[in-house]
């Protein structure tokens, strides 16, 4: 049976010259990412991301204020317990700004991770009934958190103004760290969304994961608490690099986090590429399994 199936697949399509010919055959093993097809479907990607943003605060009393409330009150709690009571150092910065500046990328990451990891299951009706490159779903999920980030970012600027912190030229690198945070969320989100299709355990893992991850990330404390020789290793947690990068780019005073950033970036790249291929490999069974 198998050999017969492969023999068929090896036949050249008779009218393959037509640009819009679609060839359907069983795929085996690892497959190409088909980024060009992804590009052709960019409008659907925009619409899905737009839908997620649009729907996010529907029928809530406070609406988009939630985008501020969550990081802001976390910052307040952190400032009271870690800043005031536990006297955790903050690299010479006012603790509220120190914490809030880290909470921004953290919330973006946690939200994007959660959305993309649950996206395949949440959109299973679509997946079972319509064809489109499946990668669009976790990708669009990641993007929806950016609107929240933008709103919460305005508050950071106010805080900086209040404490009289003027960013240095390092601020031009901020988009890179933002990109790194999104890529990190997408990388982990791809792995989890793929696993989530078959094992709904993932849904219960995510809250734990983000909780532990928050404590493993220098949000409430500075990475300078970690002994110098271990710091690059600390960068294996991609969010450690992102958070320290944010502080460096925005608050100026903090030290250049150095090799930690590069370790984080390499880690994200490895997770992202493997996640993309793993997703594509498992994609063929999504509609049957989800």
């Amino acid at each position: 049976m198998r050999s017969q199936g492969r023999a068929i697949a090896a036949e050249p399509p008779a009218a393959g010259a037509l640009a819009s010919t679609i060839v359907i055959r069983p795929s085996r093993g690892w497959v190409a990412l088909r980024l060009r097809e992804l590009w052709e479907y960019r409008e659907l990607f925009y619409f899905l991301a737009w839908r997620d943003i649009k729907v996010r605060y529907k029928q809530t009393a406070l609406g988009a204020a939630w985008a501020i409330i969550q990081p802001f009150f976390t910052m307040v709690v952190f400032s009271i317990f870690f800043g005031q009571l536990a006297k955790i150092p903050s690299d010479g910065l006012p603790y509220p700004v120190f914490a809030y500046c880290a909470l921004l990328p953290w919330h973006l990451f946690a939200y994007a991770l959660n959305e993309s990891a649950n996206s395949m299951v949440a959109n299973q009706q679509l997946i079972k009934k319509v064809y489109f490159p499946r990668l669009i779903v976790p990708l669009a999920g990641v993007l929806a958190g950016l609107a929240d980030f933008g709103i919460a970012f305005a508050v950071l600027l106010l805080l900086m103004l209040y404490y009289g912190i003027v960013p240095t030229v390092a601020i031009v690198t901020l988009p890179l760290f933002l990109l790194l945070a999104i890529a990190a969320a997408l990388a982990v989100g791809l792995w989890l969304s793929t696993l989530n299709v078959q094992y709904r355990d993932v849904r219960y893992v995510i809250p734990f994961l983000t909780q532990f991850w928050l404590f493993a990330t220098p949000v409430a404390y500075p990475s300078s608490l970690v002994p110098e020789p271990w710091r690059p290793l600390y960068g294996l947690n991609p969010m450690a690099g992102v958070v320290e990068g944010f502080r460096w780019a925005l608050l100026g005073k903090a030290e250049w986090p150095g090799p930690m950033i590069f370790v984080s970036a390499a880690m994200v790249a490895a997770l992202l590429v493997s996640g993309l291929f793993y997703f594509r490999r498992m994609e063929r069974t999504f509609a049957d399994v989800v």
Binding site: A15, I24, E43, R51, V55, I127, Y131, R284
Partner: protein
């Protein structure tokens, strides 16, 4: 350029059954995640592709098995078959939602598929927003949606509510809007599954009209439907699938005839093998109630509208000399009585020699013949009644059995869609031209 639009070559799809129930721990998950790349690496090194789901010991079902056919450009082809025959699997593979296990297919041209009406509708978004979202999901470009927007809204008859969240729409409005978007997707090749029947009767007619338009515009259409009249009307060709294989491929009327012949399921019979447990008393008991149709062996649950339906009541007479009669009630699917009939001499068309006559003890078969082209399409249920003459009921078993009447399209050359009424007899019609009128135009046509 070839005139073939869809070519399907020995397409097969295997599903593993019981997969969903198999319990897996998170540890298995992690192990699988790690092992899958390793296995693939091993397979690559060995030079043959081995996928994790190769385990031959697992229980599998073949939803499709070696299906081959070609659809020419501009052809409208209907796929019929009973539930589980593989129709939807075939469309899912051709729509690239799922992959075949074996075989090969190619589609030459821009393809659109409608496997469901309203896929991706979001209740919180307005009608306008959902049109754009749903359009994008169905593969329309933004410019295309903008161009046809007014047409979609008008078709769906939701002009006043276009900025209201869809969750406040009635079900009918949602369906109309969903179909309107779907109907304005205009690919060269269209794959459709069961979307014909949405909304109320009026809108259904509109949908079918639109379908007909698409078909007549020279589009290639592959449609899966249970609606035989629309298959007869829309399609030039029908393919009958049975247990994942192509059983027949040809002109719709013949293929539908064969389909109705094959769907004799276990239904069509209610039987009590043990007389002590059968409905009845010490005078008479039911043995079986069966639906029969000429040309088919044994009882059937699905009957052809054009042929006589035979309702057979098999009963035991337990008291020597009992003067028994038999009768039935027929109800439609709402439970409304359609008719009552018995074998009494004054109410039956033919003389039944056993009516009211002393019965010896033993098994009897009473058969009632309901003429063809008399019942409408749909589900009917039967009540079986036995009594002693003249009119003492001994056994009354309501809803003992039901059967489905299928329209083969013989009466549907001019019309399709739902047909009003519980019965649909052919009646005599005659029109006369009475006098020529000078003002014919004013009276209207």
């Amino acid at each position: 350029m070839s005139d073939v639009a869809i070519r399907v070559d020995r397409l097969s799809k295997r599903y593993r059954i019981g997969r969903a129930e198999r319990y897996k721990t998170l540890r298995d998950t992690v192990v699988e995640g790690v092992m899958a790349p390793l296995r693939a690496l091993g397979a690559a090194l060995n030079g043959h592709g081995r996928t994790p789901d190769d385990g031959e010991s697992d229980q599998h079902i073949w939803a499709l098995r070696g299906v081959s056919f070609e659809v020419r450009r501009g052809e409208v082809v209907g796929i019929i078959g009973r539930n589980g025959a593989g129709k939807s699997t075939l469309l899912k593979i051709l729509s690239r939602i799922t992959e075949p296990t074996e075989g090969y297919a190619e589609i030459l041209g821009r393809v659109g598929s409608l496997l469901e009406v309203g896929t991706g509708f979001h209740p919180e978004l307005s009608g306008r927003e959902n049109i754009f979202l749903n359009g994008a999901i169905l593969g329309m470009k933004r410019a295309e949606i903008e161009r046809t927007f007014d047409e979609i809204v008008a078709f769906a008859e939701v002009e006043k509510f276009v900025d209201t969240p869809v969750k406040h729409y009635s079900t009918g409005m949602q369906m109309r809007l969903a179909f309107a978007v779907a109907a304005h997707v205009d690919p060269e090749i269209l794959l459709i599954d069961e979307v014909l029947a949405v909304g109320d009767a009026g809108f259904q007619k509109k949908c079918l009209g639109k379908m007909g338009d698409i078909a007549r515009r020279g589009r290639t259409v592959l449609v899966v439907s249970h609606n035989m009249p629309s298959i007869v009307n829309l399609c030039q060709r029908a393919i009958l699938l049975e247990a994942g294989e192509v059983l027949r491929d040809g002109a719709p009327p013949e293929v539908i005839q064969q389909y109705l012949g094959t769907i004799r399921s276990a239904g069509g019979e209610a039987m009590w093998a043990d007389p002590s447990r059968a409905p009845g008393n010490d005078i008479a008991r039911l043995h079986a109630v069966r639906i029969l149709q000429e040309g088919c062996e044994g009882p059937i649950a699905d009957v052809d509208i054009a042929k006589d339906v035979l309702v057979q009541i098999a009963y035991w007479n337990l008291r020597e000399g009992a003067e028994l009669y038999a009768s039935i009630w027929l109800r439609d699917q709402m439970g409304t009585p359609v008719l009552a009939s018995g074998n009494a001499t004054s109410v039956s068309l033919t003389h039944d020699p056993w009516y009211g006559r002393p019965h010896p003890r033993g098994l009897f078969h009473s058969v009632c013949r309901i003429p063809g082209n008399f019942l409408n399409e749909g589900l009917y249920s039967i009540a079986a009644i036995l009594g002693t003459a003249p009119s003492t009921t001994q056994v009354l078993q309501d809803y003992v059995l039901s059967f489905h009447v299928h329209d083969t399209g013989e009466m549907r050359k001019e019309f399709f869609g739902g047909w009003l009424g519980t019965v649909r007899p052919r009646l005599a019609w005659h029109t006369e031209f009475v006098e020529p009128a000078a003002h014919a135009a004013e009276r209207g046509q």
